[in-house]
């Protein structure tokens, strides 16, 4: 089953309102309020420990906030759904540390990421359709892993694992992609191709990209949000954010 792409309708794809997460009294997110438009490519930057990954944990159901609300599109209450339900609703996530199924082949990794109803009993008898095979071949092509299709994912280089994980996200065909530090550990060439790939996705999907590499952010960013101590410090286009004295002080100046 390949889901027909939903046409982006005007409005917000993600709305976080006053979200607070504390770990033993320490506030990783402190009244975070943030919204992302449908079809937008949003970059999120901020120093280590600013709460970027925690924000993704909240959106994907891994961490429940103490306070606040999180909405997907106009009507999906993310705080009421489990992790698999959120994934099924159309949110995909790439982890900060590349996370793939190391003892399976590249092809099998992509197969498991196919969008569709997922149940043990169905998967016991599931067979790949011709269209699905073609889809996997396309993704192998896009991610440059065609020659690696039969290799165990555990044998891939760090950069290739990052790409495989991005490929798995694409198989999932999410409406909203959360991408945590996609170019960490990539060569300049791989970084460049990743930037192109993410830009090409932005038309049909909404993306939130967390990244440390400022050159990379500059190459893809339209709108940038700066997080600091669990809150939004600044927000706007790259030029404005870069010259914001607050931002320069806590982050860029360093």
């Amino acid at each position: 089953m390949i889901r027909p792409p939903d046409l982006p309708s005007p409005g917000k794809i993600l709305t976080l309102d006053d979200v607070t997460v504390s770990f033993d009294g320490f506030k990783a997110l402190d009244g975070l309020t943030l919204s992302v438009d449908r079809g937008e490519l949003r970059c999120i930057i901020g120093p280590n420990g600013a709460g970027k990954t925690t924000m993704m944990d909240v959106v994907t159901g891994k961490t429940r906030p103490d306070h606040g609300s999180a909405w997907f599109a106009e009507d999906v209450d993310l705080l009421a759904l489990s992790e698999p339900e959120i994934a099924q609703a159309g949110i995909g996530r790439k982890f900060q540390k590349p996370t793939v199924f190391e003892s399976l082949t590249v092809f099998e990794n992509l197969e498991l990421a196919i969008w569709g109803d997922k149940s043990f009993w169905k998967d016991l008898v599931a067979r790949l359709t011709r269209a699905e095979r073609r889809h996997i071949d396309d993704i192998l092509d896009v991610t440059g892993l065609t020659t690696e299709r039969a290799a165990l994912a555990g044998t891939l280089s760090h950069g290739q694992k990052q790409w495989l994980e991005i490929g798995m996200l694409l198989m999932q065909e999410p409406e909203l992609l959360l991408v945590d530090e996609p170019v960490a550990g990539m060569t300049p060439d791989e970084t460049h191709r990743t930037a192109e790939l993410l830009l090409s996705l932005a038309a049909e999907h909404s993306l939130i990209v967390v990244e440390h590499d400022m050159d990379f952010v500059r190459s893809i960013a339209r709108r940038v949000t700066v997080l600091h101590e669990g809150r939004v410090l600044a927000d706007g286009d790259m030029g404005r954010v870069q010259n914001d004295p607050l931002v320069v002080e806590v982050y860029l100046g360093a």
């Binding site: 199924f101 399976l104 099998e108 498991l112 009993w121 016991l124």
Partner: protein
């Protein structure tokens, strides 16, 4: 005609090439199913080729252990779920079969009661407890043999997997479950014969259990059940569900964020594995002629883990081979030096973990992936505590 032969030949070659170890296992089992009846029934008792009654029960026992190993390898070797409670599922299946066999005795027991088994008469019970009703029917016993381990695994697994209990914690919980069941079955008032359990069986489905012919049939049925279990496990492992099960071991959260309810995948494989263990136990009891609470003993689960590790974890056929080899060794060892068996077993496990992480079947193959030594820790811990306890009781 010739093209047909070629086509069949090619198909056989593909099957062999895709799973050489498994094909060897299936061929060996077919060999057992043919050779055992021939050597026992056709070879004259005086001949060197004759298979004795004792050998029959040994072979039957090894095959049941191989099935238990297969069940364990499915969850541990593929899903990384180290169950130290599989002996409990095995014992429950065995008890269900034992209840049928006890009721088959009828009035031939020592006390001659047509309904009540001897131990109930001995305890002055007047009436069959409700949970013994129905066990005079073979089909009912079969149902319970599968359903009881399945229910226990479903209940236990549902809580454990939903609460995301993993690793050593899961192992210890399964061990505790098994231990609790053992204590319960030791009690006379539970209605399962207390520490004596069930024995002195007479017949199964009308066939005399003391006849070699019946025992030959039991060996053949066990070999067939093992072959069928192997094929079922292979089908599961080769399905998308099986790949996801393996994927969960590698990266559980990745699987969740792809939209899989991972606990349900773990649960169903665990339940299936428990059913296999139960069937193995049910086949075991008529062949060894006894079932008692000792079958629930934690050490039994640990031994099963060692068979799998020795044979080769995550290969299915390796687990089955490991069970047969280790138990063959045990039969000789316990004859010669019974005191030292546990130490030998422990040493074997440590050696295999350190030097043969992929087990004996990994000897010839390339080292593609090593089993994490971390998985060995709970086994060594459990084995160590058991050796400690047995030492302690000797010193008293």
């Amino acid at each position: 005609m010739l093209t047909r032969v070629v086509r069949v030949g090619r198909r056989l070659w593909t099957a062999w090439d895709a799973d050489r170890g498994g094909t060897v296992l299936l061929v060996l089992l077919a060999g057992v199913a043919i050779a055992v009846p021939a050597l026992n029934q056709l070879a004259p008792a005086s001949s060197a080729l004759h298979l004795s009654t004792y050998s029959l029960s040994l072979i039957g026992k090894y095959l049941c252990y191989a099935m238990l190993a297969l069940a364990l390898d499915l969850v541990w070797g593929y899903g990384g779920i180290l169950s130290l409670g599989h002996a409990a599922f095995f014992a429950l299946g065995g008890y269900a079969m034992g209840m049928y066999l006890m009721r088959q005795i009828g009035s031939r027991g020592v006390y001659g009661d047509p309904i009540l088994p001897d131990f109930m008469v001995f305890l002055n019970w007047q009436k069959l407890p409700w949970f013994w009703v129905g066990f005079n029917h073979f089909w009912f016993a079969l149902l319970v043999i599968a359903a009881l381990p399945a229910l226990l695994a479903l209940l236990f697994g549902w809580f454990a997997f939903r609460s995301r209990v993993t690793g050593v914690y899961f192992s210890i919980m399964t061990q505790a479950l098994s231990y609790a069941l053992m204590l319960a079955f030791f009690r006379n008032d539970m209605g399962f014969g207390g520490n004596n359990g069930f024995t002195d069986f007479k017949d199964i489905l009308g066939f005399d259990l003391h006849e070699d012919g019946t025992r030959v049939m039991l060996v053949v049925v066990t070999a067939a059940a093992l072959a069928a279990s192997y094929l079922a496990c292979r089908a599961i492992v080769g399905s998308r569900a099986g790949r996801l099960f393996r994927a969960i071991r590698d990266a559980e959260s990745r699987a969740r964020f792809l939209g899989y309810r991972v606990e349900s995948y773990k649960l169903w494989v665990f339940v299936f594995s428990a059913v296999l263990a139960g069937i193995a136990g049910a086949l075991y009891v008529p062949q060894v002629g006894i079932i008692n609470p000792g079958e629930f003993a934690p050490i039994n689960s640990i031994e099963a883990v060692i068979w799998v590790a020795v044979g080769g974890r995550g290969t299915l056929f390796g687990a089955a081979a490991g069970a047969v080899l280790v138990n063959y060794a045990k039969t000789y060892f316990t004859g010669a030096l019974p005191e030292l068996w546990l130490y030998a077993l422990g040493a074997l496990f440590v050696l295999v973990t350190l030097f043969l992480p992929r087990g004996l079947v990994g000897l010839g193959a390339s080292r593609r992936r090593a089993v994490q030594a971390g998985a060995a820790a709970p086994v060594i811990w459990a084995l160590g505590s058991h050796v400690g306890v047995s030492l302690g009781s000797k010193l008293k």
